[in-house]
Symmetry: C2
Subunit: 426 residues, 2 copies
């Protein structure tokens, strides 16, 4: 029986989960694949973490060189996260002829071109299913199953923390800050939640998924990014009444005018399959020119679900003697012919505090009309304050720049003030 | 640039769709993969079909030997369906060194062991993503992504025709026969709908999916199979009132007592992600011991969605120099140690026509109790006829055999008659 040696870098949530899966399933993998997967080495500063997992002292190392020079190690699993030292460690492993499996979205998003070049040069595998959306099998679907398609768009709920927060806000009517605190105490949100709640995490993943989908590098810096920290519980309540659910969406489109990539909160029709993706579940909804619509749904984070993606890659690497890499032109920057659409099109939800007088609505709609914006739905809110009443508008499709100009002009009139606006995905 | 020659056997819906995708995307694949995919040959008796697709006369052949001996053909795509002549053609292609991509669920379900043996012997690829659930990327997810898991269960809506019929019955209150006629006139159901409506199609797919999931051959003959032809619109209406949706489910479970495989109509909670899979959409809900829950959703049939799966396999075959095969012990029969559970457990929906008198309900529940069946929910229907009133019971978990015995005893009392019963999946 073949033996395949594994080294795990970092025993945090994902690294620990991966270790446990490998140990618990050792006999199962022997039986199915005739391969004995053995964790030979772990790189982890915390002896407590390693001990808690029952890892022998002799397997714990403190520098990458020990792993690179260990002939028993075939595959290095990187679960450190962030750029350094993860990047140097991955490069060192590849240069010493070890294949790498990584869950590191930021690293793969920013440096996939460099990692892939070094992997190819050293004839090593480089696998990254776990970098995007945990246990949801989206990377391999894009790399393999959907290659026959021109991918037209992908829309994803690809961050578990923000989806948990928005689900709780919608179902319990709580404020953003109250739910964030609860999520932190439950371990669903980190002490510094910036990467999740400001949309960085989703944008890294969107960069990877869009690059694979559209066959050109989609740099992180091209992604419009807006987090959920300013979401008002009031808007979630109004949205629900109008048949919408608020989600942090990652959207990639490849149309006639170019590629459009954005991460922002949005309202989505409750009948859309993505609307029922609750709590920390994630999903990616992909439209291809042949396959039509496909949705992949599951746990987007967590020790075992993400560990499942890593172990899937480990087994694939061990059972497929030749390596394939990503199929997009894996460069640092986008192709010179690639255009990015910044002034994108959307429908919009606008909440105003309007003077409670006749003629105000017609003035506002006239002003919007001047910018080519037509209104699809109007709802008068109930709580009046200081002579003003909430007014909710849903527009037809228009351009982002038009909405921003129109909002500035409405505010300048003095008869109404825009309290909030959200993009609407139908 | 490498050229890869394709031969397509059968230009029906799927073969035709595959041809169109290959032709329309030829430049796109050249750019992405540096491979020129050329359809060299089609085996099709109808000159009209071939002409309608614009295929040159010179590419149309009438026997498999011409394809096997054509050195320009690298990959043979089998879209004939059924056992013969498809089986002989696939074996001939493999024996002449051509890799095979097939969409044929019946053939792969019944003869995968034989096809795989010949493919391995001749060092050819054998790909079958399109055999199950059209454009939904479920085969590769099981073969690659989820290998790290013990798959505990899979529940699928994996037949488009029956899901279309049940959706229409639920949303329009129509009878089974009326919707079937409509589906036939729209081309969603075949003139002889047996394979779909009696659950054969779903059972072939379940055999393949369960074999991959549970790492042992799950023969078609072990699957409990019941179609939708006896579904009464009344039960769909009552189910809706109780918060359930009727679906034709394919269920595979791997538990302590063995493997349980069944295809039958069932009621599923409307909050379950599978309940919102409407019309001809399909989905497979998989639970693994590490990944937890994953759902894969999309078009389960149709020219382009199924063609997308075939072309994905063609590109994979052409870009991966070594072939991998299915990872279950691909034998004709199940392993001798595999046990199949026939007397499975479920909750049940029972509709009775009961005498409209005091004490009847308590007699019925007492009788059920004698068989260890406890009742979770009781609803009295409204339309009374001939002194009888409809009574709907939902039971807690019990065994199939207990329900059948209890129903026979209830019927024997004369105080109530069981009009219908359906399994409930919560």
């Amino acid at each position: 029986m073949e033996k395949v040696g594994i080294a795990i870098l970092g025993l945090g949530v994902v690294g620990g989960g991966t270790y446990e899966i490998l140990v618990e399933h050792r006999q199962f993998y022997k039986k199915n694949h005739n391969i004995d997967f053995v964790v030979e080495s772990v790189l982890e500063r915390s002896r407590e973490r390693a001990a808690a997992l029952g890892i022998e002292e002799s397997k714990i190392v403190s520098n990458i060189a020990e792993i690179c020079s260990n002939p028993e190690v075939d595959i290095v699993v990187e679960c450190i996260g962030g750029i350094e030292p993860a990047k140097s460690f991955v490069l060192a492993a590849l240069k010493s002829g070890k294949s790498v499996v990584t869950s590191n979205k930021e690293l793969f998003c920013k440096y996939s071109h460099e990692l892939e070049r070094v992997a190819k040069k050293n004839n090593c595998g480089l696998f990254f299913e776990a970098s995007c959306v945990g246990g949801v099998p989206v990377i391999r679907a894009l790399l393999d199953n959907l290659q026959g398609n021109k991918i037209l768009s992908l829309t994803g709920i690809i961050n578990g923390t923000t989806n948990y927060i928005l689900t709780k806000m919608a179902e319990e009517g709580s404020s953003y800050l109250d739910v964030l605190k609860e999520a932190q105490s439950l371990g669903y949100a980190e002490a510094d939640p910036t990467s999740d709640v400001e949309g960085f995490d989703a944008a890294y993943k969107l960069s990877i998924l869009s690059s694979l989908s559209f066959h050109t590098k989609v740099p992180f810096t091209e992604i419009y990014r807006e987090g959920i920290t300013n979401i008002d519980a009031v808007d979630i309540t109004y949205a629900k009444q109008l048949g919408y659910t608020a989600k942090l969406l990652a959207i990639g489109k490849n149309g006639e005018n170019g590629i459009e990539v954005r991460v922002h909160p949005a309202l989505i029709k409750t009948t859309h399959p993505l609307a029922s993706v609750r709590d920390s579940y994630n999903a990616v909804y992909i439209t291809g020119d042949s396959v039509e619509d496909v949705m992949l749904y599951g746990r987007g984070a967590g020790a075992k679900p993400t560990g499942s993606a890593i172990v899937g890659d480990i087994i694939y690497c061990a059972t497929h003697p030749s390596h394939t890499y990503s199929t997009f032109k894996n460069t640092e920057k986008a192709d010179s012919v690639t255009k990015f659409v910044k002034n994108f099109e959307s429908e919009y939800y606008i909440r105003l505090a309007a003077e409670d007088k006749a003629g105000v609505l017609s003035k506002i709609t006239a002003l919007l009309g001047k910018h080519g914006i037509s209104v699809a739905q109007v709802v008068q809110g109930e709580e009046r304050a200081e002579g003003k009443a909430p007014l909710i508008l849903i527009t037809h499709l228009t351009k982002e720049n038009n909405i921003k100009k129109a909002i500035a002009e409405v505010n300048a009139t003095g008869i109404a003030e825009v309290s909030s606006f959200l993009r609407v995905v139908s």
